[in-house]
């Protein structure tokens, strides 16, 4: 772990009012997750206890403490997507990737996460791969998306 890089990110955000979330976002954007070593560095920079930093990280679904697969696949589980066959899509995605929620495929390509609405409810069912949202996803389009992403990933 590159401690100097971590410290640089932390220093760049520490002066912001309410610096905790912007700092954690910046670290996760850069490293893909929040490494354990970041906790004490953040704690001393923001003058809070390490328990407090841990508490914040564990509270928010977005933050992860272990490296994810090369792509994160987030499938919407909320009502509008349910009304358009979302439950069947969830089952298909799990079967196709061979993992359950929060797990990573054996080849390290994909981590599967549930998400509760992507704001794409007029195009349900929806899912997100990396930063790209996809709408009106069928089993077939999912398979195509995933083979495309596997090549890129």
């Amino acid at each position: 772990m590159d401690l100097a890089a971590l410290q640089t990110i932390i220093n760049a955000h520490r002066a912001l009012p309410g610096a905790m979330l912007p700092t954690l976002h910046a670290i996760q954007d850069e490293m893909g997750y929040i490494p354990e070593q970041a906790v004490s560095l953040i704690a001393s920079a923001l003058n809070v206890s390490r328990a407090e930093v841990h508490g914040v990280i564990s509270f928010y679904h977005h933050f992860r403490t272990a490296p994810p697969g090369r792509r994160v696949v987030e499938v919407c589980r909320a009502e509008s997507c349910q009304a358009k066959g979302g439950r069947a899509l969830e089952a298909h995605v799990k079967a196709q990737l061979g993992v359950d929620w929060h797990q990573t495929t054996n080849d390290g390509a994909f981590t599967l996460e549930p998400v509760y609405c992507l704001g794409n409810c007029a195009c349900s069912p929806s899912l997100r791969i990396g930063d790209d949202v996809h709408g009106r996803v069928s089993s077939e389009t999912f398979d195509a998306l995933i083979s495309e992403a596997r090549v890129e990933a």
């Binding site: 979330l21 912007p22 914040v56 509270f59 009304a83 509760y116 409810c121 790209d132 709408g135």
Partner: protein, 510 residues
Amino acid sequence: MSVKIYVPQDSGALSLGAERVAKAIAAEAQKRSLEIKLVRNGSRGMFWLEPLVEVHTAQGRIAYGPVQARDVADLFEAGFLEGKPHALALGPTEQIPFLAKQERLTFARVGITDPISLDDYAAQGGWQGLKQAATLAPAAIVKEVTDSGLRGRGGAAFPTGIKWNTVLGAQAGQKYIVCNADEGDSGTFSDRMLMEGDPYCLIEGMAIAGLAVGATQGYIYVRSEYPHAFKTLNATIAKARDAGWLGPDVAGSGKAFELEARLGAGAYICGEETALLESLEGKRGVVRAKPPLPALKGLFGQPTVVNNVMTLASVPIILAKGAAFYRDYGQGRSLGTLPFQLAGNLKHAGLVEKAFGLTLRELLYDYGGGSASGRPLRAVQVGGPLGAYVPEADFDTPLDYEAFAAKGAMVGHGGVVAFDDTVDMAAQARYAMEFCAAESCGKCTPCRIGSTRGVEVIDRIIDGTERTKNVELLKSLCDTMLAGSLCAHGGMTPYPVLSALNHFPSDFGV
């Protein structure tokens, strides 16, 4: 003269391939040595037609959709640059009935302009409200908002002018405007569409709020599921500041207002205003007890206006055209317009801005076109995951805060999620409890523990284990959650659960 072609960069349109369409159009034009100007607008909100491509012609804007990249060469061949016929042609955009029948005040510019362009914004009536506010005394701005009848669009429908007046009257060295852009409700996307499609409107509304209450710093708390909206806000805040609409001298008023967008981190409860403030302060998003009201002790303990995106984005037109203009729309105590969001199993899902007072049935059938599956609609959840399921018998209820409350339902943020007759309402009730448990902030027992118990009890009802006894248990559990929860997360989860049970008992085997 180059032809203007519009391809939305709204993330809904992008989710359906708009980026590939834009690239294909640019490539095809180059191949044919045609000069075009590609404008990346917001979405018109007709998502069944997205990606919706528009061409500016002598007859105005002509729409084509839904367009895929593979259609592009064919469109050029058919002469779409002159608005000529094609299988995907939809005629003049503004005459498409779904759009023609709307009353777009808050969404006046969304889908029409380039969201990043300051020139477009100004040319389409932008900044008029802020210019007006810059000439008024703070109390006069607040009065205009109060007189407009505007109520909070985030869910609770609290009168905006009264909230602002409390913050105006508070004595403090620092006050804040916080925009709640957490939009966690399933079936809602109006905040996202506006932030991506007309961000200056929100920026203008926040600057007006700052002048009105004497706040010099604003934050927009955007959910992390909205990376495009966040990027668009960052780009436009910087441009607005350079142009003098934000910064040390807002619109020549001599007063300062700075603005910053912040990202949430995937916690539904951070949409609740006090949890949101905790989160902005860098803490766990745990709900605070009220009082004190955020208006008096909000962000960093200072007087704070917390308003939803739609609320703040409605303010510019109120200042520009006057309170009387705005309150002329709507009925009873639900004044103005609401951007409704049609989602779920509807043929024509999308954004419908209308004055309050139309019925749910009109929304579902006249705009939504009925179910997408062709099967009968059976249940409609209005107002997000904490909103009741409305049965067909109540579809004629007018969309009005009080009329919905009288039916034990809520309008909330205006999300409408339709289900056809394949829906299993016991599964929906179970999901409501499961969601409550997953997103509980953990502060109070009825919500944290009650929701987990609720899932177990519903499972037993579904299994047929001591059904009568467990139905009674579910009802009393709901009573406990209703009465004993600190906030509406635990306090309103019983609405979807009990409405499912009461209106659709056969799905529970009773």
